[in-house]
């Protein structure tokens, strides 16, 4: 019994190690190759020893319309504002569903349940035509404002709020003369902090990684987001510049990997709490 347990444990451990290597290796190759010259990569594409060509790869990369800083700033603006709008207004909408007794409450809740799975991608043709008609295709706001209505997040916030928010707190604040808007901002938002933090992480990541919507809407190079910058690496101009391509990929992935490893405890716990697949 004891021996078979140790055996089983060893096998499981080995499988886990193999899967871990599988998770790390592609990114490791990417990072190492970003420091190697194209000639080195052509001789041996797999190496775990960094070389000294980081600077020259960077020169090649930036020399061909790849501007990681612009992409980084645009992605940052979009992701931060999207996250703020989505979490704030989703909490507000959840509050409406939990606290107030009004006629359309159940209808709104049922409606949110019904539409929360519908992906934005499916309605992109109409969205594009609408935005194009009002000449807003290169405005970042068109990528940000839709976040105000995030049905899946409203659903999550409501689930969290029902046990977390004591209605008597709201009642007593009203008796003390607090206005409704003030109660929400000063009393309800702080109570919802853990749920907001969890959702903020996922909202930020999915907005940061979003390729489809920006690809459809943005044609101005100065407005490009990081995923669009990445998609340029697939183009002919980088066909033989292996080192530069790996560097471009590294520049987009490394910040995410570092942020993830720092926040991994919260992120894994957050997934477990039931995030909705973006």
């Amino acid at each position: 019994m004891k021996r078979s347990h140790t055996m089983k444990k060893t096998i499981i451990f080995i499988i886990c190690i193999i899967l871990s290597i599988l998770s790390i290796l592609p990114f490791l190759i990417m990072i190492v190759n970003s420091t190697r010259s194209t000639v080195e990569i052509q001789q041996h594409a797999l190496s775990l020893i960094p070389s000294g060509y980081l600077a020259s790869n960077f020169k090649v990369l930036v020399g061909k319309s790849f501007n990681p800083l612009v992409g980084f700033m645009n992605s940052l603006i979009i992701s931060v504002l999207t996250t703020i709008l989505a979490t704030y207004f989703s909490t507000l909408t959840a509050y409406v569903l939990v606290i107030y007794e009004w006629k359309l409450r159940d209808a709104l809740y049922r409606f949110i349940l019904a539409v929360m799975m519908i992906p934005a991608q499916i309605t992109m043709i109409g969205f594009y035509q609408m935005v194009y008609k009002v000449h807003m295709t290169n405005h970042l706001s068109m990528l940000i404002l839709p976040a105000i209505a995030s049905p899946a997040m409203v659903f999550y916030m409501r689930q969290y709020m029902i046990p977390a928010l004591n209605k008597e707190i709201v009642q007593s604040a009203r008796i003390d003369g607090a206005r409704e808007f003030y109660i929400f901002n000063r009393i309800v938002l702080p109570i919802m902090k853990p749920a907001i933090a969890t959702q903020a992480i996922f909202c930020f990541v999915s907005s940061w990684n979003n390729l489809f919507t920006p690809l459809v809407l943005l044609t101005d190079q100065r407005k490009y987001t990081l995923p669009i910058m990445v998609s340029l690496l697939r183009g002919d101009i980088y066909k033989t510049e292996y080192g530069a391509v790996y560097l471009g990929l590294t520049l987009t992935a490394l910040p995410l990997i570092i942020a993830y490893l720092c926040l991994s405890r919260y992120i894994v716990a957050g997934v477990a709490l039931g995030s909705v697949k973006g």
């Binding site: 519908i118 209505a149 995923p227």
Partner: protein, 329 residues
């Protein structure tokens, strides 16, 4: 009591205005607009004017009979099914190991973090990274295989239809099994531990416990994972688009890429792309309805039924009582 509620009820309407307005402008209107475009002749870059077709369903028929769309749809379903089976299998296995009460896997926390990591990285980056890894003649994979002598010469993986598709399937599995595992672990940890204790007392083996206790108890979560994954899978775009642009010979073309290519390249056929979108929309709505139905709160429903029954009995009792009173008088 009633009066106090209605005093605050107006805030219910006021505070839901931002959500409602944003939803109408950015979701509802585009959805209806997409549906309408599906019935029109809207084509060509920069065009916004359109006329309804004499034959309203022409675009839908063209799409449904188009061999390219059929290929794209079959690819999408195939890639999803073949990625979901190993993904679920691996996730279940790992979830069972990581929640086993008789032993702890050393380094469990680190493993979870690493298995989930590919999911957080930009899919666009991953697609192009794998394109480089399988590069020809000198990608890292070819380098390894020729160096250890499995291949005598580098092989061009990316022009082989089956291999290209398999790589997309692998990438999807690799990106998502960690996520599914974490969801399943939280589902298993949510099961009442007394059930496991009872199974242990009854002398159930680890395998029996997993098959007869764990699995039936996470049925809802399994279904949830499956349907969210299905909806995500039906919209697969980033990986197939950037890995091989749908090629070789449409082997990695998905419906998402098909719709994008119809509308934003070549002849800019917005109308056909819209029709294809609506077809996918219907399929996704059906999947959502299924999800909604499966996740409905059975306990609450049973409770409501019971309450109605009780009220009925009470009314009947009252009636009987009143009649008896009247009779006494």
């Amino acid at each position: 009591m009633k009066a106090r509620h209605s005093r605050y009820a107006k805030y219910g309407y006021i505070f839901s205005i931002p959500f409602a307005a944003a939803f109408v402008i950015f979701s509802l209107y585009p959805t209806l607009y997409t549906a309408i475009i599906g019935f029109t002749d809207l084509q060509g870059i920069g065009t916004t004017e359109f006329h309804f077709l004499k034959d309203p369903f022409l675009n839908f028929r063209t799409i449904l009979t188009s061999p390219t769309f059929q290929t794209a749809f079959c690819n999408t379903v195939k890639i999803w099914v073949l990625n979901f089976i190993p993904q679920l299998f691996l996730a279940l296995l790992l979830a069972a190991w990581f929640t086993d009460r008789r032993f702890r896997v050393p380094g469990e926390g680190i493993f979870k973090v690493l298995f989930y990591m590919p999911n957080i990285i930009t899919a666009a980056t991953i697609a192009i990274l794998f394109n480089a890894l399988f590069g020809y003649p000198m990608g890292p994979v070819n380098d390894v295989l020729t160096r250890i002598g499995i291949f005598s010469a580098p092989y061009n993986f990316l022009v082989n239809k089956n291999i290209a598709q398999d790589i997309v399937i692998f990438i999807q599995t690799w990106m998502w099994y960690g996520y599914t595992m974490i969801i399943l672990i939280s589902g298993i940890l949510g099961i009442n531990p007394e059930i496991f204790e009872a199974a242990e007392v009854d002398g159930a083996s680890g395998w029996q416990t997993f098959w007869l206790v764990t699995l039936p108890n996470i049925k809802t979560i399994l279904l949830y994972t499956m349907i969210t994954s299905l909806i995500g899978g039906l919209n697969m775009f980033d990986i197939p688009k950037l890995f091989l642009m749908g090629g070789p010979d449409n082997a990695t073309l998905t419906t998402g890429v098909f719709i994008y290519n119809q509308a934003f390249s070549g002849a800019y056929m917005y109308n056909r792309a819209a029709a294809a979108s609506m077809i996918m929309f219907v399929i996704i709505v059906l999947a959502s309805i299924l999800l909604f139905w499966l996740l409905r709160d059975r306990d609450e429903e049973a409770l409501k039924k019971l309450q109605r029954k009780r009220e009925k009995e009470m009314r009947r009792a009252c009636r009987v009582g009143r009649k008896a009173e009247e009779a006494e008088k």
